[in-house]
């Protein structure tokens, strides 16, 4: 009985590993294929039967991709987009979240209700009026245009309100007794306590900004003012059948984020795990 249970357990562990390995092959395969294709010539990429390894590891395709798109601008634009959106979302959401969680004021519930409704709406429906607003101001094809709809985050406000609710009032009272005024209590005591939540919100905002395709395509039509996603979609139109160049371009667009992820992997997983736990 005991031995049969033991072998049963071994079998299910083995099965778990088989499933996990199969799954990770499916998850990782597109990346591997992307890297291999980026180094092939066009003929090699289309060869029958498929050639798995390129015969020459050279960077010609990367050079072509770099020449077809202003990659430096794309990196800078995407970097600025992420930076501004993350900073603004974290700071403004912290302030509003703190007010909703810890301060008393009239119409509190009504205002919070509006924030919740905003969270439930698909952001796409705002795109038309946002674009028209921008066009009226003559601000299309600017960094401001890219950043503008993401300056405030309803989700972030809700998320940080929950975090502030989790901090006991006694901490704020103790700070008050020690001579902090309300603003100092917020900036010196409460704000630093929400570090991990802010990190999680920052990651969500950054990943969203990085992958967002529709808004950058609409607001900035000048190639020099585009983000990586938007630029890449134009490369697709240019090199429909030149897979190696497309893959090289895709790789160039992905590398910075992947490096960041691998470097900060632990903080990243912890940051998100924390949101999941609640």
């Amino acid at each position: 009985m005991n031995t049969s249970m033991k072998s049963n357990k071994q079998l299910s562990t083995a099965l778990t590993y088989v499933v996990l390995i199969l799954g990770s092959i499916i998850m990782i395969f597109p990346f591997v294929w992307m890297i291999l294709t980026a180094f092939k010539t066009q003929a090699e990429a289309m060869a029958i039967p498929p050639q798995i390894l390129p015969s020459n590891w050279n960077f010609d395709n990367f050079v072509t991709a770099l020449e077809s798109l202003p990659f430096v601008n794309l990196y800078v634009n995407t970097g600025l987009l992420i930076l501004f959106r993350v900073l603004c979302a974290v700071i403004f959401s912290s302030m509003a979240g703190y007010a909703f969680a810890k301060l008393e004021f009239p119409c509190k519930n009504l205002l919070f209700g509006i924030v919740l409704v905003q969270m439930m709406l698909p952001s796409q429906i705002f795109i038309t009026p946002q674009y028209l607003m921008l066009a009226h101001l003559g601000l299309t094809n600017t960094i401001f245009a890219l950043v503008f709809p993401g300056l405030v985050s309803a989700f972030g406000t809700f998320f940080l309100r929950q975090t502030y609710l989790g901090i006991p009032n006694e901490i704020a009272e103790a700070a008050y007794l020690d001579g902090c005024n309300k603003w100092q209590t917020f900036t010196k005591v409460m704000f630093p306590l929400t570090g991990s939540s802010m990190a999680a919100l920052g990651i969500f905002t950054a990943v969203f900004a990085y992958s967002d395709l529709m808004w950058p395509l609409i607001c900035n039509t000048d190639l020099n003012m585009m983000t990586l996603s938007a630029g890449l979609s134009t490369l697709n139109g240019q090199y429909t059948t030149n897979f190696p160049v497309l893959m090289a371009g895709s790789l160039l667009a992905m590398i910075p984020m992947v490096i960041l992820y691998l470097a900060f992997q632990r903080n990243f997983i912890e940051g998100i795990a924390m949101t999941g736990g609640k």
């Binding site: 996990l20 799954g23 301060l103 795109i127 529709m214 691998l262």
Partner: protein, 296 residues
């Protein structure tokens, strides 16, 4: 107004101004646009107020196609991706060696550009005059007939879109479920094991109920996310989604605004409002159904 509430308003001020400017005002604007008939973009004039825009959109075959595609996508991908994520994350939490390596691999797609990976999927599945994609070669290897998944029959294109969508949303779901599983109190498992409970029974009687709030969260956000599908379809089938018969509701809104057939903010707004009503209805149904189940 007393001093304290004045202070509270100061904290709220930046968010309120920005929310009002970027979200509340545009929302009202969309409603207004959707009822203005024969709106002329250049002169900013319109001829009347009524339901014509809605009627036009609801009778547009491209819109109906987009609605159908979106619903098929939602109905297939949400259960499949949630189920698979549950399977993988349960597997991840039950092993010790190599767990970190597996986690790195499974979470990696979350930070990658979906458009870039979409292009790889296109290359893998495409069949051109010169060559079959890798997937087709595998199919032929097993004696099957090669299919053009990118420009071929509608079901094949739908399959690729669903497959790709599941691939894209999996990392986030695995991430959330892994942490939910980790937060289950281990004492429950110990007690169950002492009582000699089987593993399947432990899973259905302890694990599943304990992580059900997180599953509910994933299902609801999954529905909302799938209804907003757009960039995945663009990555696979290019920007002319109507011609490919693979448009989604959001894609239709985009085309009405900026595509080759664009320049109709009224139709786009009406379509956007219809999308909003659909999402709101589904979210409410979701909340009602799941609230009942979680209470049980």
């Amino acid at each position: 107004m007393d001093r304290n509430s004045k202070k509270a308003w100061l904290y709220l001020l930046p968010s309120l101004i920005l929310l009002g400017l970027f979200l509340v005002y545009p929302l009202i604007d969309v409603f207004v646009y959707s009822f203005e008939e024969c709106f002329n973009f250049a002169s900013q004039t319109y001829e009347g107020v009524g339901l014509y825009n809605y009627l036009y959109v609801l009778h547009d075959p491209y819109f109906l196609q987009a609605v159908e595609n979106t619903f098929v996508l939602v109905i297939i991908t949400v259960p499949v991706s949630t189920g698979l994520a549950l399977l993988i994350s349960t597997g991840l939490s039950s092993i010790q060696p190599l767990r970190n390596l597996f986690q790195t691999v499974y979470f990696l797609p979350y930070v990658t550009n979906t458009l870039a990976v979409g292009l790889v999927f296109m290359v893998l599945f495409q069949k051109t005059e010169y060559t079959d994609g890798l997937i087709n070669l595998v199919i032929q290897l097993f004696g099957g007939e090669s299919i053009d998944f990118i420009n071929g029959p509608h079901w094949a294109k739908m399959f690729v879109l669903c497959f790709y969508t599941v691939w894209v949303v999996m990392p986030f779901k695995i991430l959330v479920l892994t942490s939910a599983l980790a937060s289950v109190n281990p004492d429950y498992y110990k007690a169950a094991r002492v009582d000699g409970t089987s593993r399947t029974r432990i899973f259905f009687r302890i694990t599943l109920p304990m992580i059900s709030p997180m599953l509910v969260y994933l299902v609801i956000t999954g529905f909302i996310g799938a209804f907003k599908a757009y960039s995945d379809a663009v990555a696979l089938f290019g920007t002319d989604l109507n011609a490919a018969g693979m448009n989604t509701i959001v894609g239709y809104v985009y085309d009405m605004l900026y595509g080759d057939s664009g320049g109709y903010p009224s139709y786009a707004s009406a379509a956007a409002i219809i999308l909003f009503v659909i999402v709101l209805t589904i979210t409410c149904i979701n909340l009602l159904v799941t609230r009942k189940q979680v209470r049980e």
